[in-house]
Homo-oligomer: 417 residues x 2
């Protein structure tokens, strides 16, 4: 009998954890991703705000999976799945056949039907998004410096962050620190400390998935950093001029979108039942109904938690799901009993606001301030698994914490000449 | 009397060294560059070959000049100079008036009248050039892995480097090490060790500006690394298919251009006399004839050495010239005697070939092999002045030397999806 072929699409936290756990299994594993690197997405906002550079939060997939000799990596963009012929279609490539398929294709940002806002208000999902936002933020200061009128200067120094979830909170805090501390002595005509950072959330509180007391702690920390926090305010338009918040027009040269998330096209490829944000409805063992050979995991799967609500799109959820599917497949390959339905074991959730400010909900205890920040730092550095530069990132952080000198402050890419 | 205005165009080694030395002088200094960072160009080839990442060899100009309070930095692209009105024209900006002007606008690569070769054979001068070449090199391996035919595979695994000067020698050596060592275990279908690296030089020896014995040492080291060195072979065409070397067609998916250099447009802006490669002919004090208020330094100036030959386009030359002009201007501002004509004090030149292989000509001694490499490493790390990450680069190098794991191996930018 030929060795079974397992195809994993996507090398994010879910796909990589599945591939890792299938290393050495009695199967030929193929990981397909359209990029050659795995991205440590929880730190992506630090690249966007010039705190870290891309190489510090990304590592080549091949290097990570080097030792798993039964795993091969294919660089390519998947365009569809043929469930009947059991084939994954890859653009510009021949088809890739599978016996088992794991879709871990993640999510992207969504504009609630206003895709035309994207040009003015880019979201933060990919590495190129982050370097693009970094370019916009740094260029805004460069334009403010020689600006002719106080109005123009004010517009260049106004930054609107839309969405009060973890991404929005982290971005607003980091832009405030960049402007008020890191860039303080870099300009002659302007004072970057005058920069206005406005965080807009349509709901009644920040970090809606956290306990209310931590939402309030986050709001207070942001205000202390000089962020203008607007709650209960829907954004009704975004353009090159700025944003309309409720009835108010806010002139802002830089807008960052952190409000909506939308699952990848997996549900479309599978013509499967999906939820409101496009996630595939899966069985308790993460497989597709009537297709026990297809699994969907991570941000692109709709899985119910014990609470009856769907699990959030977090790295630990995706990782545990990837490991679960690998365990299930190993059991099936060896004719052993398959594991119990998937259950997410949470250790807590956290979000960082700035230097020495974060919130952490560990269930049994809720933390904010310096302690939460230290915990956040330890957890994030230690989860940079498979990265050669864990040590370097740590040193870099310490260095940047002490000196506030940022080597990651480069304006690169198209449009930067 | 108003404070004199000194305008420096270009924040490479020359411009930055002038700006640095004018910090605290009794003058208003403006540095104009079209990028927000200074680039440590001698290590650019390491970014192109995935050894270092951009942030490790670039630092924001504002951060470097932060403490020089009389120096302001303007991000903008200079489009011309009006010598009569003493004005520098900046695109999209108002004009910048000067009393003294220092042009340090460097050089770019040249295709000897074959600009149509550029698309197939990119050169290496800017940071985006380096990430672009890195993308091409890494993508070639990705395409080779699933290639259908042995011919296609061979084409993807063939790398042609054109030009046997320091850039070509360094690139060929680094690509060979990337293929033969760093990527060795990353692929399943191909063996990156089979990659062919062909270095083509039209002259009779490599590193023509070095003593012949070092040229031969460099050639031997490259051959040891598995590089196919072709001397006395002119390239007659470059295209997407490959290169034509003499009469031979070499199919190569990746071509890197390191053959020709051409000065910036400074001579054109000044309507000044220039040499064969576009460098401005300057007076012994680096000023423009009949314009004692205009200075041209670095790769864009034609300055005669004691030997009667023009000085080479090297970082130390540019740095000494920048410091010289600053000294001259300080003397002039204070009504003191101006310094003697500029004289370049050389400490030697070196080129690196690979791990533990380099050549160094210190005049009184010629070195090759490990000793030259160690010297090269020490000199380059210690010259990363003003970079926060000198320590980080050193640690990174040590780490990558020991492990050969490369975190800089990211395929980013347009065309990488």
């Amino acid at each position: 009998m030929a060795r079974p072929r397992i195809v994993i699409v996507g090398a994010g936290f879910g796909g990589l954890s599945a591939a890792h756990a299938l290393g050495g299994a009695d199967a030929d594993v193929t990981v397909i991703d359209r990029r050659n690197y795995h991205l440590f997405q929880p730190l992506l906002y630090q690249v966007a705000t010039a705190g870290l550079s891309p190489a510090q939060i990304a590592a080549p997939i091949r290097a990570i999976l080097r030792k798993a000799e039964n795993v091969r990596v294919v660089l390519g963009k998947v365009s569809g799945v043929d469930k009947d012929r059991r084939i994954v279609k890859v653009e510009d490539r021949k088809e890739v056949p599978y016996d088992y398929l794991v879709l871990a294709t993640g999510a992207r940002h969504s504009y609630f039907g206003h895709d035309e806002w994207e040009a003015a208000a880019p979201g933060l999902k990919k590495l190129d998004d982050a370097t693009g936002i970094r370019r916009r933020i740094l260029t805004a200061f460069e334009h403010a410096e020689p600006a002719g009128s106080p109005e123009a200067r004010r517009r260049f120094l106004t930054f609107a962050v839309i969405g009060g979830g973890p991404t929005g909170v982290e971005m607003a805090g980091a832009i405030a620190e960049l402007a008020h501390v890191a860039l303080r002595h870099d300009f002659r005509a302007i004072d970057p400390g005058e920069a206005r950072i406005v965080l807009v959330e349509s709901g009644a509180r920040l970090l809606a998935s956290f306990p209310p007391m931590l939402s309030e702690a986050a709001r207070r920390s942001l205000v202390q950093l000089g962020v203008d926090v607007r709650l209960g305010m829907p954004v009704t338009a975004c353009s090159g001029e700025g944003v309309i918040i409720g009835d108010e027009a806010l002139e802002a040269a830089t807008i960052v979108w952190g409000a909506g998330v939308m699952a990848s096209a997996a549900a479309h490829w599978l013509t499967a039942e999906k939820d409101r944000i496009g996630r595939v409805m899966v069985e308790p063992d993460l497989s597709l109904r009537d297709h026990p050979e297809i699994f969907v995991i991570g941000d692109t799967a709709h899985v119910l938690a014990a609470t009856g609500k769907p699990l959030p799109g977090l790295a630990p959820v995706a990782k545990q799901q990837g490991a679960y599917v690998a365990r299930l497949l190993r059991a099936r390959l060896h004719g052993k009993a398959e594991p119990e339905p998937f259950r997410y074991r949470t250790w807590g959730t956290m979000a960082t606001i700035g230097r020495r400010a974060a919130v952490a909900d560990l269930g049994w205890v809720k933390l904010d301030g310096t302690l939460a920040w230290l915990l956040w730092g330890i957890v994030h550095v230690s989860f940079l698994i498979g990265f050669r530069n864990r040590l370097v990132v740590m040193l870099d952080w310490m260095w940047s914490y002490v000196t506030f000198q940022s080597g990651a402050r480069l304006i690169t890419g198209p449009g930067s000449h």
